[in-house]
Each structure stands twice: as C-alpha cells, then as structure tokens.
C-alpha cells in the first residue's frame, strides 16, 4: 500500500488588525491611523432593498451619553481585501477562493436597532454602570435605524437589515485594507487527531446555535441549522463570518454575529494551545425545540467529540430555559463517554439572588456562571436614544433614568463567555 503523505495545503488564517479609536460620519468612507470615517450615503446605499423605505446612520462611542434600545444584530467590520470573500453564504459563495488574510476593524461594530416582531427589548448604555456589562458598551458603534417599506413583510425587513449590516461591515473594513496594521495574529488550525500532543489534553468547544424559527434563528453559511445534526466546523470560517445571527430573544443571553466572529472560548483555547492544552476543534449544534431532537443532538455531539479525539469539551448555548436543557443533556452525554465537560450558564435566581439559580442543569460536569439574569441595576438618564423613542417594556421615554434587570442588557450574560460577570454565594448574617 502506498503511504499517503499528508500535506498542509491550507494556510493558517492571519488576522490583520486595525484598531479603531474614533468613529465619525462624513462624506466618504475612509480609515486612517485609528480614525474611521463612515460615508453616510455610502453606508445607506448598503441597505438598498425593496423591503426598506429608509435607513438612518448614527455613531455612538464609549462614554457618549447615549442609550441604544431594541438592538438587533451586531457585526464586526471585517474584509478579505480585493475579491471579497467575507460572510460566505451571504456576500460570497462558500466555495470561494479563500484568501489567507482577514482585515479586522477592532473596536468598531455595525449595529442595527429598531422594532421587529420577537425582538425582545434590550438596551446598550454607552455610559454609566451598564456600559461595562455589555461588550458593545465598549465598542465604537455605527448604529443603523430603519423604516420598513409599505407592504414589506417583517421577514423581508429582517433579511434586508441583516444583508445591509453585513455589507456595511465589509464596506467599512475594506477601507483599511491598505493601511499599516496595528497587529497581525496567526490563527493555527485545530490540532489533528493522531498528531503528537506532548502530553497535553485535547480540548474543544461545542457551540449550540438557537434554531426556533423566524427572528429566533442563527445562520450557518446563510442557512438555518434547524434540522441538522451537530457537525465539526472550520473555526477559520467562523472568523470570516460563516455564522450570522438572526436571533432576537433574551437580550442578555444573545450571541450576536460579532461574538461568533470573536468567539471567546475559541480565543481562550487558542491562547493556551501548546501550553496547557491542544485546541482540538469546534462543533456547531442546533438547539432543537423538541426533547427528542435535543437528545439526538446531544448524543451525536458527544460521539462526534469522542470520534474527533477530544479529551474534554466546553459547551455554550444561546437563550434561556429551553437552551439550558441542551447544555445539560450535552454535558451529561460527554461525561458519560468519559470526556470532561464544562458548560456556561447564566443564573436566574431572582432579584435578590436567593432563588434556585438554574431551571435545568446536568448531573455531572462543571459549570461557569455568567451572572444573574434577574439582578437589577439603576441606570442614569441619557441625552440621546437610538433605535426608538420609548422603552415599551418599562413604558418610559427611552432616555429616562430606569431600574432594569441585567436581562435587558445586550450580551451582558454572554453564553459564549465574553463577559466578566459571575455569581458567588454569600450567607446573610
């Protein structure tokens, strides 16, 4: 038998980072030395679609007395350079020629905001105590409001806003392609089963994607993952926007596209690759709504991890109660196959934190707490609101001083692990 030589023809992906320090609106889009200029009409043109009557582009930076309400998706500006190739399945075919470099406007975000059915109302404060809880209180945000066209269905409006945001994100990053980068980051491919480990454990991640139909769906290469089995997935493709969110449930428990592009668990596994562990890979899984579907996906995901030679897996989710069951079943299935498993959960222990923290949890494994959904914060009034005039759920003006649960603050309890919140038991006297 001839021996097959395995050659590495696929180059590792390089992130070419351009750090954004200020964002302004202007005539023509440009990037120079940390200053991002957003061409207003160029930006609006990215949203040209029969389903939209008009869009309005604003900017909101950290420290501004601005509250963004009803946020939808958030996208990090990224571009592949001439020829395109970003957001496969949306702006490029999946079988495109894949350039080895991805330009990133780090510190900037494209963020759409406004009413859509099932957009559970959330907020981002750019100043005050909520600003440090949302990852997007710390980014320079290009905020896009929109008016639906007469006769357009909400599903068409949603799709038009999503396509527009992806186009705008690519457009903005293209302006930096020629600029001198602030950093170049090499992203090694996952460790292959059978290659020497140097005695280090092979650790991967399973990321559950919410799949509950219109307005509560996540897209992989432009398609819903509903009905799919869990699959091994190329993490470099996630960097290039293969996973796009159209999911507008529980604001604090959302994973916008931005956080898939910057998947925190992938980043931490890579950071410790070769030192404490071998980064073994990424599994994407749907979160089916039926119990039998949850059981099927959990059993199959655990088998997949074992077949791919994982010694351990970290499991992430999106959403609340329903999604907690997917985490529990996967952790139990992994542990039953003798893989060490850790899941990221948000707690729901009531405003004072004295109630039971979880609706559903595994029998074994270990759990990370990303904070308490019900914890309340007092937020000061702001000067300006984007995304709408009123906070419907509290029935107040959008700029008002409010008391609100962490549950309302976009990605504040990030199930992908972006945040620094946790909970600890403290006995009262």
């Amino acid at each position: 038998m001839p021996r097959v030589e395995r050659s590495r023809t696929v180059q590792a992906l390089r992130r070419v980072v351009h750090t954004v320090h200020t964002v302004e609106l202007g005539e023509t889009t440009g990037y120079e030395q940390g200053r991002l200029l957003v061409g207003r009409s160029q930006a609006e043109a990215r949203y040209a679609d029969p389903a939209l009557a008009a869009v309005r582009v604003h900017v909101a930076s950290p420290g501004d007395a601005v509250r963004i309400i009803a946020p939808l998706d958030v996208v990090e500006p990224r571009a592949k350079g001439p020829g395109g190739g970003m957001f496969p399945g949306w702006l490029a075919p999946v079988n495109r020629r894949r350039g080895p470099e991805t330009h990133v406007l780090r510190g900037a975000a494209v963020l759409s905001a406004g009413y859509l059915p099932r957009n559970q109302e959330g907020l981002i404060d750019m100043t005050g105590p909520a600003a440090e809880l949302s990852p997007f209180g710390g980014t320079h945000n290009v905020v896009v409001e929109f008016d639906p066209a007469d006769g357009a269905s909400w599903a068409e409006v949603d799709a038009a806003v999503r396509r527009g945001s992806l186009r705008l994100a690519a457009h903005l990053a293209e302006a930096a392609v020629e600029a001198e980068p602030d950093a170049v980051e090499e992203l090694a491919e996952p460790h292959r089963p059978g290659e020497p480990t140097g005695g280090l454990p092979r650790v991967g991640v399973i990321t559950n994607l919410q799949t509950q139909g219109a307005f509560k769906d996540v897209f992989v290469y432009g398609r819903s993952m509903a009905g799919s089995l869990p699959t091994l997935f190329d993490p470099a493709e996630v960097e290039d926007g293969a996973v796009v969110s159209g999911q507008y449930g529980h604001p604090a428990l959302r994973n916008p596209t931005y956080l898939h592009q910057n998947h925190p668990v992938l980043a931490e596994l890579r950071a410790r690759d070769g030192r404490d562990l071998r980064f073994a890979g990424l599994v994407l899984s749907p979160e089916p709504v039926e119990q039998s579907g949850k059981e099927l996906c959990s059993t199959h995901a655990a088998w997949l991890c074992r077949a791919a030679g994982f010694d351990a897996a970290i499991v992430t989710k999106e959403g609340a109660g329903n999604a907690d069951n997917d985490l529990a079943l996967k952790v139990d299935a992994l542990e039953a196959l003798s893989l060490a498993a850790v899941a990221l959960y948000a707690e729901m222990s009531g405003p004072d934190g004295t109630g039971p923290p979880l609706v559903a949890g595994p029998r074994r494994g270990a759990l990370v707490s990303t904070g308490n959904y019900d914890q309340r914060l007092r937020l000061p009034a702001v000067e300006r609101a984007l995304g709408g005039d009123r906070l419907r759920i509290l029935d107040v003006d959008a700029t008002a001083a409010i008391e609100a649960p962490v549950a309302m603050m976009l990605s504040a309890l990030s199930p992908l692990g972006a945040g620094r919140l946790t909970c600890r038991a403290e006995e009262a006297a």
Partner: protein
C-alpha cells in the same frame, strides 16, 4: 413566655384536604405537634393558644396573615411559632407569610420548615429554623425548634448553628477574568482530577411525583392553565411579557371557544403568530368543551389561570404552583391541563 402556635388544619386535627378551606380559628393551649413542643419547652414557656387555618384558605385569601396575627395578639402572645411545615408548599407559604407579618408588626416570630419549602422566600427577615422534609422527622424538627425558642427568649439572635436557615444570596459581581477564560481553567482543573470545582452547584433538581390518575374522568372537574401569557386583546391587566411577578385569572364560563382577535399571547419568548391566529391552540378551550359535551369529563372549571413562563425565576414559578394548586383544590377541581410554550 406566652406562645401562640400556628398549625394547618391537618396538624391541628381538624381534617385533611376536605377541610383545607377552613377559615382562621383558635384552640386553647397546645394541639397536635404543639403538645410535644410544649413538653420540650418545659415549664418556662407556655403555648397559650393554637392558631389554625386551612391550607387552601391560608394560601389564597388576601389579608389572612393580618387576621391570624390578630388572633395571636388577642391570646396575649409574646412569641409566635409557626410550623413545622416540612416540605408542604401551602402550609410553608402560610407559615412564612405569618412570621413575616408578625415580625413586621413587632411581635417576635419563628417559623419552621424544610430549606427547600417553596414558601421560605416569603419569610423575609423573620428567622426560620430548618425542619425535615416530611413529618417522619417531627421529633428532631421540634427539638431544634424548642431549643431555638429557648435561645430567642434570652434575646440572643439565632444563627446557622441553631438550625436557622440562612438566606444564601448568590450575588452578581464583576471578576478579573472573563467567563470563557474561567471555562478553560475549569476544564483543565477537571481534567487534572478536581471533580468538585464548579461556579454553580451541580445537580439537586427536585423530581415531581405525578398525582395518582383519576378514578373517573367522566365526573371530574378539569381546569385549563397556561404559562403562555394568553390574555384578552390589549392586555388590560398588563401581564408581563417576561420575568413574571404575578398571575391572572379569566372567566371562560359559557364561552365555547376563544375567538380570534379577542385574545392574544403577550409572551416575549416565542413566535406568537400561530397562537394569536387561533388562541384555542394555546389554551384548548374548543377541544375541552367538546370533551365536556361528550361526557368524557364532568365539567370545565369556569376560569383559566395564566402567567408567563418566559424568563420567570424558579422561586417565583414554584410559588405560583403552590397558589394555583390551592386555588384549584378550593374550587373542587380534580385535574388540570397546563399548556406550555
């Protein structure tokens, strides 16, 4: 010290579930487990009155705590003791609300129940002493309670060492490392053999034992319930779309089916288009009426109970469960269909 002792109808010897809607009343001196409690307390402290209320009445009647407190005061009580309620939901709720009301009114009070009792959260700052899960642990529970009474009488405050159930609050805080870093750290510790490390305790979920099947469905009163936030169009009573703090009731007496446009789901957690197009698919009134006409069930309860499950905390949901069960028992309902989203 003069003590008023609160018991439910069962422990006071006034009857079982059939007597659960009994209103407040007073028995002179100790009754039921109060007799053993009196023995354990010795001669220094005297149970002067036993205050009694049926579980359903206590769990469903607004203002009942004030009424019970008035009876204790009238008996000249210097201390109110409630329970042990063990794991019983309605009884625990009544004990907790009563000791909270007494404490707020300046009458020292002490409750006794299992730490998992859904009523516990209602006790506020009033001290509660741990009891066993069931009446099989009556004696040790009363021993602990009696010791706590003796200590309280000397004006010492009660601590966890006395069996006081400490309110453990899980307090949210910002830490140095983000959750993804901590997840990697935790998985490496687990791989290294530390199987105890976790930020949230693992396991410990209670299993619900189903009630026995009905003997005769043809004579049963059946209620419809939903956590899908189905309310009259316009949501006149402002039910929350998420994180419920309350539940509501709506009349369906004489209504054959839920008319499209007259009802809506305000649940913020699922796509309500189909439910709003035909509200009967959320709350199956049309099908239930058919069963009623066919004689498959005895009668349909005249109102449905509704809340929103979306994002509602477990503690709140457990309390709603206790209150709904009491409501339905009081109304003579034998079975309920609870639709979820």
């Amino acid at each position: 010290m003069r003590i008023a002792h609160y018991l439910n109808q069962f422990y006071a010897g006034l009857g079982g579930e059939e007597a659960a809607d009994l209103g407040p009343r007073v028995i002179d001196g100790p009754a039921g487990p109060g007799r053993l409690l009196q023995q354990l307390l010795g001669e220094q402290h005297r149970i002067v009155a036993t205050i009694v209320c049926g579980d359903d009445h206590a769990a469903t009647t607004p203002g009942v705590s004030a009424e019970l407190l008035g009876l204790a005061r009238a008996a000249g009580a210097e201390l109110l003791v409630a329970g042990p309620a063990f794991g019983s939901g309605r009884y625990g709720l009544a004990c907790a609300r009563l000791v909270a009301a007494a404490t707020a009114a300046g009458l020292p009070a002490l409750g006794s129940m299992h730490p998992d009792n859904p009523g516990l959260a209602e006790a506020g700052t009033a001290p509660v002493i741990a009891a066993g899960a069931t009446a099989r642990e009556m004696r040790p529970s009363l021993q602990r309670l009696a010791a706590a009474v003796a200590k309280l009488a000397t004006s010492e405050s009660l601590t966890a060492a006395d069996g006081r159930i400490a309110q453990v609050a899980r307090v949210g805080r910002l830490v140095e490392r983000r959750a993804a870093w901590r997840a990697v750290d935790l998985v490496l510790r687990r791989l290294g053999g530390d199987t105890e490390a976790t930020e949230i305790p693992v396991g410990g979920f209670d299993a619900v034992v189903p009630a026995a099947p009905l003997d005769k469905t043809a004579s049963a009163a059946v209620a419809l319930l939903t956590e899908g936030a189905l309310v009259p169009a316009g949501n006149p009573d402002r039910l929350e779309s998420a994180r419920a703090t309350r539940w509501l009731r709506y009349q369906i007496e004489g209504i054959e089916e839920l008319a499209t446009g007259a009802w809506e789901s305000v649940d913020g957690g699922f796509a309500t288009v189909a439910a709003n197009a035909d509200p009967n698919r959320m709350l199956p009134l049309d099908a239930a009426r058919e069963l009623e006409r066919d004689g498959a069930i005895g009668r349909l309860h005249g109102e449905f109970l509704v809340t929103v499950g979306n994002g509602t905390s477990v503690a709140t949901a457990r309390r709603f469960g206790v209150e709904w069960a009491a409501e339905l028992r009081k109304a003579g309902v034998q079975a309920a269909i609870l639709t979820a989203t």
